[in-house]
Symmetry: D2
Subunit: 359 residues, 4 copies
Amino acid sequence: MGNSFGKIFKISTFGESHGKGLGVVLEGCPAGLAIDEDFIRNEMQRRKPGQSKITTQRKEEDEFQILSGVFEGKSTGTPIGMVIMNTDQKSKDYGHISDKFRPSHADFTYFEKYGIRDYRGGGRSSARETAARVAAGAIAKMFLKHYGISVDAYVSQVGEFKLNKPYQELDLSKTEDNILRCPDAEMAEQMIELIDSVRKSRDTIGGVVSCVAKGVPAGIGEPVFDRLHAELGKAMLSINAVKGFEYGSGFEGIKMRGSEHNDSFYTDEAGKVRTKTNHSGGIQGGISNGEDIYFNVAFKPVATIMIDQDSVNEAGESVTVSGKGRHDPCVVPRAVPIVEAMAALVLADYLLISRTNKL
Amino acid sequence: MGNSFGKIFKISTFGESHGKGLGVVLEGCPAGLAIDEDFIRNEMQRRKPGQSKITTQRKEEDEFQILSGVFEGKSTGTPIGMVIMNTDQKSKDYGHISDKFRPSHADFTYFEKYGIRDYRGGGRSSARETAARVAAGAIAKMFLKHYGISVDAYVSQVGEFKLNKPYQELDLSKTEDNILRCPDAEMAEQMIELIDSVRKSRDTIGGVVSCVAKGVPAGIGEPVFDRLHAELGKAMLSINAVKGFEYGSGFEGIKMRGSEHNDSFYTDEAGKVRTKTNHSGGIQGGISNGEDIYFNVAFKPVATIMIDQDSVNEAGESVTVSGKGRHDPCVVPRAVPIVEAMAALVLADYLLISRTNKL
Amino acid sequence: MGNSFGKIFKISTFGESHGKGLGVVLEGCPAGLAIDEDFIRNEMQRRKPGQSKITTQRKEEDEFQILSGVFEGKSTGTPIGMVIMNTDQKSKDYGHISDKFRPSHADFTYFEKYGIRDYRGGGRSSARETAARVAAGAIAKMFLKHYGISVDAYVSQVGEFKLNKPYQELDLSKTEDNILRCPDAEMAEQMIELIDSVRKSRDTIGGVVSCVAKGVPAGIGEPVFDRLHAELGKAMLSINAVKGFEYGSGFEGIKMRGSEHNDSFYTDEAGKVRTKTNHSGGIQGGISNGEDIYFNVAFKPVATIMIDQDSVNEAGESVTVSGKGRHDPCVVPRAVPIVEAMAALVLADYLLISRTNKL
Amino acid sequence: MGNSFGKIFKISTFGESHGKGLGVVLEGCPAGLAIDEDFIRNEMQRRKPGQSKITTQRKEEDEFQILSGVFEGKSTGTPIGMVIMNTDQKSKDYGHISDKFRPSHADFTYFEKYGIRDYRGGGRSSARETAARVAAGAIAKMFLKHYGISVDAYVSQVGEFKLNKPYQELDLSKTEDNILRCPDAEMAEQMIELIDSVRKSRDTIGGVVSCVAKGVPAGIGEPVFDRLHAELGKAMLSINAVKGFEYGSGFEGIKMRGSEHNDSFYTDEAGKVRTKTNHSGGIQGGISNGEDIYFNVAFKPVATIMIDQDSVNEAGESVTVSGKGRHDPCVVPRAVPIVEAMAALVLADYLLISRTNKL
């Protein structure tokens, strides 16, 4: 269990960091959608390692192949199978940790759960699996675009540096202008410097990715358990290194009074019911209200550091784990497209489900 | 969709605030569990309205009946159906809002979604539905107790007042000693005063419920999408008024360096692999590691206030919504058992699933 | 697991033969459907015991209550909870078999599976559970009727007596004209006589229920695993006492040559693509083609007979099981509404799913 | 929807007849199972085209690759991804039918459902998809073997020729001795002759595959909807060309009296509760009782014939469909491993689920 996500627009992923390949089966993409392979490729470029000095220098080409479900450039309604072959399976690199549990990685827990583990690069627990999510998410984005819905994420915090502007005051078209993916150039510079200094000290640091979805019509969401924000939250918490999720006013909102926090309704000039404020983050009672949906996702500092650490091995003996290889000092720049992909998958799925709500 | 939760130990709830009754079907409870109806009753008392001066004064008796699945005091493995009949269906109380959209309630979004809505007390969107969850959650707690697992929640923040102690420094056995359900008596008093003053100003305020699960064995959780914390997060975000979820170091953890944040492993005197710190919140790679699981849940200020608010009606015309009835000034004291119930349901479900992991 | 059926238009049933009550939660019924309680009542009358000399003389009133999901006569899109309280729980009647395994009942298998069993009237394995299905199925029928789809079942075989006419040559409006629910009056008489003689010899006999769905549009069905006929087959095989399912040409069709069996396409006067024959039973490749859907369901002779039988008890000792109580000599007359209910549930569900197939 | 099967031991397949490749993701295979790739290869050989004069002469090599989920020869508990690349994609062969609906194929229904179709070799509706099922089913068989469970299918009917012996009187080890896969050599010869003569007349014919599972412990099955035989029935009905399913006494059993049909219990010398007869087919109340499970699956005559047929094209105009290419005159010899694969997948899944039934 646990390797599928979604109800109708649904993905199943497979693959380990250093296996032969990984992939995804995307079911339930409605027939007739034009599939732009270049767009998928571009999304995967945004996630891939080695893209800048503040990401890992590891090289993975992430060439994907669509094996099924697309005919003459359009989705056919049948499952879209995609694979990404691993060309560089240097499993020898991992001999030094093959029986050691790296602190705050999933080595120990996978071993406890399955009694066996693929120690090469974290095996299934590696964030490499998110490449498959990004490929499928790119298709979800195309589907949403067809209905005028956009999903845009950006870095809003790195360590202590926090972008204290709401998304409305940012120009999200500038997100890709810097290697950090923060639309505020000045703040980006400071954050990049921080990451760089952390990297030089062979350490790592955490951050926040914020995300905004525009154009989602009112009426999307499936209470009581599958509220739109609950599914978004699960989607985000399923990404490697995520420790928290909040939407709308989030954790800060608890300090407000109800009279401040409530979003008053009014009818705009076009006759559409709108809210004056949007502390609700575009979701009320678990259902979209037509306003922008926005949320924050907290990422912990990357567990792999270049500093020696105390640990134990499979026999329970004390060992030292030494950092080796090429790793990210901070995960957020590469997490931006992953957050977008998962958000797009949730919205595509829920948009389809909402077709069944009324007679 | 959306009214079931869980995979094996699974609930389906039904019922509206002012319908004839509500209930829950609990599937997958293993056979042979002794069912203590008094315990269920007690859990429901903790959630029910009218229990103190800082909760709504509304009276709901919440008498439940077990209709099936229990024979001679034990679960039989077949679905446990429970109903709670609504004795007090004062739908006339709601005539004044029958075509108005209350700000930050789900009136508008349900109307958009379904084109029809049961306006009485919020209908299905009412937190009254959580009574069914608490009933089922009580059975989940009994199941967990059988395996030595406990789940304890408490209030850790109300508005600006935040309990700045980690749970390890609190005596959780004192949670029920005050009407707020905060184990720190002094802090509780301040928080209660704050709620009381907010109530007097006819307003509402938000808060945080924290939760700790002890005794969960290592190996529980279903990556990559159904990570234990992702499912816990979804469960919490599915509760009315929740705006955020974080586990372990959460949003604060992003400021740490990897070298501080990582939880080093060691072998304890009993030969068990443990971690020296627990920033991971007992979960690594989405799988429990045997340490305590802990997390925080943010609740927004209650949307129903006793102050007049601007809004629109179904026709889109400007109207005034006046607060009426008996409502909670702050939801957290009654949310404590709901958080516990949902956490227990997730853990019971995942504990069962983990039986299928190995040959 | 196993107590829910359907994906969107989905039921979860609960309840045992002699528990306090049973019921069903119907999720996913689209909002705005007029709910006719008299129609539900009527469907339940068709299933209930004691309706004629060839059914059990046991009295069960089967009064149902809708607890939720319906407001001002219409479905609201939220779960429709229905309960049927058991007024007559004569558990003392079952003392004589409380530790015996009745041959070809589920006493032994439930005991092996759960290690505990509710021996009263078969507990959860009793066909009494189908009352809940019929209640939900009645709503599915209303939903289908809204779209011009009908589902009609009838008895086509009892023991050796087989109605050798295809459904096209029968007047299905006459099905309810006799107590057997066979639209051929003459054949019905012979079958009734056979059942009556079997009943007098304290024995039981099997039969076949045939079913026809008209008006299903082309394009309904979810290959490759959830083919329309596969889901219909599962639905039927989930009914108590069913041993076989075939659709279209069924088991007889294997003797035909492809050139005879293939259904040629033509365009009718209205410009609609039709088939000249319908050996496909209205389903090709698991998807409806717009022709009538028809299938047969085989029911074994009822396991409860009034003749002494050899068996063993829980301790494995040889015992005699004596028939007692009021039971059906042949299940098919009462199975007709159950077959219709399950077929309607599948079609309603798949009709909704098909809304998500195209852009 | 519809491309996944199973709950825990679960497969998702993808791929079309003439796309780049097809494959399967197998989730939930417990960790630690030795994976024998030769066994998988052998199973796929049994299904592949071109194996004898009575199957299609089409060549498909069906080379599969395991991309994930297996490490050092053992399953790791993570998804096992397998792909089969299509080396021979002669889509030009299908130009002549690209806008025609072949009678009793799924061309028309896919077009109605999706508004678009991959006409090459039937696209997703092609039985080529079953290659993926056989690969996953081979792993299910290995898992079952570990617990002493075997699944063996054979041909029991071709057209009018029916093997009138129960499986107990057959030597199932001889099934692979002839190209038909019928364990009765004499009958096999007659059936082969029939198929050969049908093939020469450019026509096709139907048949029955029977299947026996031995060693399934008592207690497997999930009533009320997911009865073991209901899931087996769905699995079989999901195979291309299947028109009917019956288990135990099946359609014949309806002629019996209850007193004949009931399977009396006794305790054998080893102290195990057994039944004297097995009309129940090893399943009572939807749960295995420890006896052999057996069932029959009816396959229609293959739709592709070499004779000209009347049909219409996408524009609704009358056209002639001429048979071309290399097709099976009778599907049953190649269906034997598919039936086994699907049965093994159901049993593996249900065996795992049953681990959650008791405390």
